[in-house]
Symmetry: D2
Amino acid sequence: MTPSETGDVTVEPSLELDSLFNAVRSRSSELCDALEPDDFLLQSMPDASPPKWHLGHTTWFFETFVLAAADESYVPFDPSYGYLFNSYYESVGARHVRAERGILSRPTLGQIMNYRKHVDARMNDLLASDRDRAKLDFLIELGLQHEQQHQELLLTDIKHAFSRNSLLPAYRDSLKTSDSTPPTDEPWLLFEPGIRDIGHAPSPDGFAFDNESPRHRVFLEPFEIQPRLVTCGEFLEFMADGGYERPEFWLSEGWDRVNRESWTAPLYWNRDGSNWMNFTLGGLRQVDHNAPVTHVSLFEADAYASWAGCRLPFESEWEVACGDREVEGNFYEAERLHPAAATRVAPQQFFGDAWEWTLSSYSPYPGYRQSAGALGEYNGKFMCNQYVLRGGSCVSPRSHLRRSYRNFFPAHVRWQFSGIRLVRQLQA
Amino acid sequence: MTPSETGDVTVEPSLELDSLFNAVRSRSSELCDALEPDDFLLQSMPDASPPKWHLGHTTWFFETFVLAAADESYVPFDPSYGYLFNSYYESVGARHVRAERGILSRPTLGQIMNYRKHVDARMNDLLASDRDRAKLDFLIELGLQHEQQHQELLLTDIKHAFSRNSLLPAYRDSLKTSDSTPPTDEPWLLFEPGIRDIGHAPSPDGFAFDNESPRHRVFLEPFEIQPRLVTCGEFLEFMADGGYERPEFWLSEGWDRVNRESWTAPLYWNRDGSNWMNFTLGGLRQVDHNAPVTHVSLFEADAYASWAGCRLPFESEWEVACGDREVEGNFYEAERLHPAAATRVAPQQFFGDAWEWTLSSYSPYPGYRQSAGALGEYNGKFMCNQYVLRGGSCVSPRSHLRRSYRNFFPAHVRWQFSGIRLVRQLQA
Amino acid sequence: MTPSETGDVTVEPSLELDSLFNAVRSRSSELCDALEPDDFLLQSMPDASPPKWHLGHTTWFFETFVLAAADESYVPFDPSYGYLFNSYYESVGARHVRAERGILSRPTLGQIMNYRKHVDARMNDLLASDRDRAKLDFLIELGLQHEQQHQELLLTDIKHAFSRNSLLPAYRDSLKTSDSTPPTDEPWLLFEPGIRDIGHAPSPDGFAFDNESPRHRVFLEPFEIQPRLVTCGEFLEFMADGGYERPEFWLSEGWDRVNRESWTAPLYWNRDGSNWMNFTLGGLRQVDHNAPVTHVSLFEADAYASWAGCRLPFESEWEVACGDREVEGNFYEAERLHPAAATRVAPQQFFGDAWEWTLSSYSPYPGYRQSAGALGEYNGKFMCNQYVLRGGSCVSPRSHLRRSYRNFFPAHVRWQFSGIRLVRQLQA
Amino acid sequence: MTPSETGDVTVEPSLELDSLFNAVRSRSSELCDALEPDDFLLQSMPDASPPKWHLGHTTWFFETFVLAAADESYVPFDPSYGYLFNSYYESVGARHVRAERGILSRPTLGQIMNYRKHVDARMNDLLASDRDRAKLDFLIELGLQHEQQHQELLLTDIKHAFSRNSLLPAYRDSLKTSDSTPPTDEPWLLFEPGIRDIGHAPSPDGFAFDNESPRHRVFLEPFEIQPRLVTCGEFLEFMADGGYERPEFWLSEGWDRVNRESWTAPLYWNRDGSNWMNFTLGGLRQVDHNAPVTHVSLFEADAYASWAGCRLPFESEWEVACGDREVEGNFYEAERLHPAAATRVAPQQFFGDAWEWTLSSYSPYPGYRQSAGALGEYNGKFMCNQYVLRGGSCVSPRSHLRRSYRNFFPAHVRWQFSGIRLVRQLQA
């Protein structure tokens, strides 16, 4: 069992906050080492952001929500940056149009790196000081979790942008790959009906976003759940059976999308004669039949499930099925940046490889309270027309994930590493 | 207590199927009595359909799903009508573009009325025959429920179209109105935590759509629910407090919509000096402060709830709160075609007046199975990016409604009579 | 030579103004005789208008620009009609959105016909009175020419709407058809270089729009012009030679349009096996190889000319080539409502059959002055991004046409009866 | 009279072709000296291109149309570049989508500069060789003129992109400025009616695009033309008189644009209290009342002319009025990169400062023949829905301009340095 199999070794959840801070912040730079200077302004669609912007925005987040909160007299590094690097915080003020982040050639990359250094220095001062931990440490952790989200997005965004360039550049040529073996035929995991506790259980050091609370009870009718992710090979069977041409498997809105955008395969797949090729962060490769299928929308996931005579899980089912498993799997730290066939380490793939679509629309848990002030905008205002994904992907930092984590995207979205796990309903 | 207060007297659920058939079909014609010949081609937006099309489509439904199912040798009235009057059944074949139903001047209204007569005669033959009840009676009931849905849509669609004509014509001049008195201050209805049964309980004669099944268990944390609908007067307070200008109350997608479409009030409200006027099916009227607010999107309902320090109900909470109440209220049969202040008859307004937005996205109940064949497309394929509304409105036929009924529309939609009821979460 | 060959017998240019007025106005009603009541609200695209609207708008034109001009105390038939029936006169006030004329079910057709009667009566009073001829007669003639333009549009608009209905209804079943013979091989018309006079030559009774003046000099290099219109048979050769697939023949914007809208033939042509069918005002027919091709955009006309090694004429060349020819040809009065093979009467087809695309963008003649007030908006403000067509079509009223007449449409438009005549440049 | 007043000193038309080649190519690099590495991927709208793309495309042009034409065995520097750097040559093959040039982070800037070096070396070999001058020299000159067009576009494109960044960066801080004095009141230039020769007169060394030929005769009615460009101060009077709020001055399509895009001033003007500020390539400045107004659309130019009781010139009038004047004025070489008040050197401003809108749509001259092969696509296929501009601007290279030069843009376009000169029609 190599370190890359077990995942994260540098960014341990148990690190002290100051070490954690510097480890997470460094990784953002490390992610950019593989880029050419030309790549930093890339924005290939409104949902994506340029690397430069990710670097500036995460820094602005610490400046605005930590440094200014800690010290009323804090003077921003550059007062014009607020307008440029505010993402969507209405209460913080006006901001640059999201779809046009790709025209922000200034500030230059050098200026943004200086901005990072400046804020990091001030943050380290704060972390070394006798700070008001009750008030600030949650905000600092929030900033780090936020930065980890943007690290993942930086990778998915650059993958999308590179895929639109006919040169099909690789993000990294030296990514690890591993032997691919077919999944073994394990029994599905069975769950009896009953009342279950769902959501984040408060604990002294466990961080969670507000949308994971409060912990509450749900009743689940009996179900069984697939003990691994759906593979590319299985998805190819769906395709071979006319999956993309048969409306009976599809949600109505999905079928419209299939036709309007001429979908015939997951995003990044292209047929080359009789082969299917897959554009990856390591460049163009053959589709690996044993690896989990990713870059499918909820529509495709749902159609596949329908074709297979199953359905997708509700998020509560996923969370119950995940149980107390360790956060083990194929994460960013495995240095593959691509899904891999299930291994001995985490054969059930609850964490890593692919974010798993659920049938659950993203909505508040009963008793949910969004944070006061600007940070209340972090999660709550997006609880409409989005669907929950669980588990984390091959580009998620390991320390960012947990069982109660609720990721969310619109149903049509495909540029994330999003995959499929099936559920079968049982008779009560 | 007048008949119009108690609702439907002509179309009783207890009617024999043949009487019910003729009663429902007649009402579609009755609804058109108030129209000018010029109005039958009106389509003011893609979501709405012209009256002619409603008349033809509901007839096609009986022809296709009942007459042809009952008799394999059935010859359609006109083979070209299938293309014109198929709404969205992929398995039945190609069809006319939805957004362009307003250009179907042919067949003429006369031809469509002949089509209705022809199909009604054949249906009456079938109803009088020794038919295969096990196979056909559900389909016939489905056709009638379907026609009732279109009766409601015909009214909401014509209201929308008339509102876009600067002449602001009334659908009917002679609609009933009633005294408006402020709602009394009743305590909210309290519900203890516990396991509850939700969904349609099968019974010999009770019809339900497939999306209301199966009946299943949910766990509800404690809550209390408002014992009536939110009034226009209350909504005006929200507006006066800057409701439409303060992003902190709004879902992100809702706030975009507010700005993009310049929303400042519910649909059909217009300021006339210091007064707010309301375009109704009876023409232009002053906003009645005591009547329930309607024609609000889920976004507005959610923003109002947020401003009021509450939230919207989940659909399971609504169904539990509704309990075994009789289907009493302000329906189509009350001949108002507009919401009214709560009355002694049905003071809690669970049925009638306004469809009530819930936080529940429209998704399958655990164990849901969609019907086989074309009718499987009736409901299941829309279970994405829509939200459930409960209770029925002032233009719903009384006999169409029931406690387990799940109506659904996208969150931004305002042309239905959609309103607001609040919930307060309690500590478990 | 039958009357239908020679064209208009009822609406003679030489008629007295009062007879002319009643003849033109009656024809609008006559045009509607072939319609079902259901057809009057039809609007199949923003460029087209419903028959009801044409009837109301032309009446509003007389009311606003003649009756109100003649008598300051004139009280409009209904003050709300101005908003509904103003087309584009900014100086007359706000108006209903053009693309939504199809939702104006009210006023009813009956009310509009009453409006017509009312205005016709008042107009006849005025025509019988001792009116200020210097001030009014031009306005009355303008109103009549305007109504004739709308008569032509009513036919092209209804053709477009009917073509979108899968029933493909005929506007009239009883249209005349004529034997189709191939065009004879006549020499092209040759013109030596020289200074030519172009534009409307003022005369006591000759009406012209302001855009036809002033008469002015142009220098034309030598050219020869085709002595008839390009036929469908010839256009089929272009198609057979890959005309719609070879970018080298096309203007760049035309080529984009071909691809974006998947053009493979003129509008209204559909392949039926090895045959090309043509949807006409008389219903579906085979393409007549000898008849002029119509319903082509300027892009298609230009591509055809390029393929043929020629070019389209400039409007000055057309006007010079037309010379003093009588206005003879296949007009509305021929009761075909479709182009026909050239006949002995008007073998060169300068008038009738098809409006002929020119290379000339619609721009002011040197010295052009637009009329004062609202009527200045009639023509001048459209002199951008439109191209001039000459000659008149098979649905133009004969008395509406003249040698200096400048019709104009955007280059991509195909729903008019627009056709092709070629020019060859000669060495100076 | 300083060199910067007289314009170009480095790139003389009289240079030998090899010197000219190297001078023009060097200037493209020189233009980029003022950019940060971050700026090279900037594309702020589909009409604009990133600097990197301009550098690559102009190089591809020489490689494709000169090197490959000179030597059939020429092997492209990189065969994948054709797809990336082909702009619109259908006959050369498929290409990257224009609106998405901003996502071409690869090839890197370094690779593109190597590409330039490689092609420049091969070109210098060719220029030093005993080449087929008859065949190649025109192509080389075409490539240089083409590169000069892109040099101008690079500046207008970067100006547009910078204007969308709230930091409002200057392209160059050190641009020259000059004293601003009000224009003197010179008499308008009068032209008698008569036949005139228009277009490029072939000469041994004079280059011209195909669209400037053949030279031909036109007849011009008498007119007088303004002896300088309209100033910002004059345009402010139009604005103060409600110019942008009064539809009577506007073309219909222009008025739609004013309202849809909320135009209230020329592009790049912003009100700062009672001042109007102007974003320039030198950063934000006050509007100079004496300098020519630029960055107006044809719609604004036409509305201004209408307000002033004049009209815009036809291109033939401009060319006649320009006559044999030397190409003197405020060009790129003056190092202002902004229009300037008229000076003694070229007080009539026929060349430089601003491209002058004309009423002439861009159409073929009688007898026009587009070049054979791919280069035939250079000009001819754009002759629709564009309008001719004459004279050149403050960012045009001096040696690029000539009297017969026909620039063209759509009527709504404002990101070019486009300005206004008036004409008054005289009685014949």
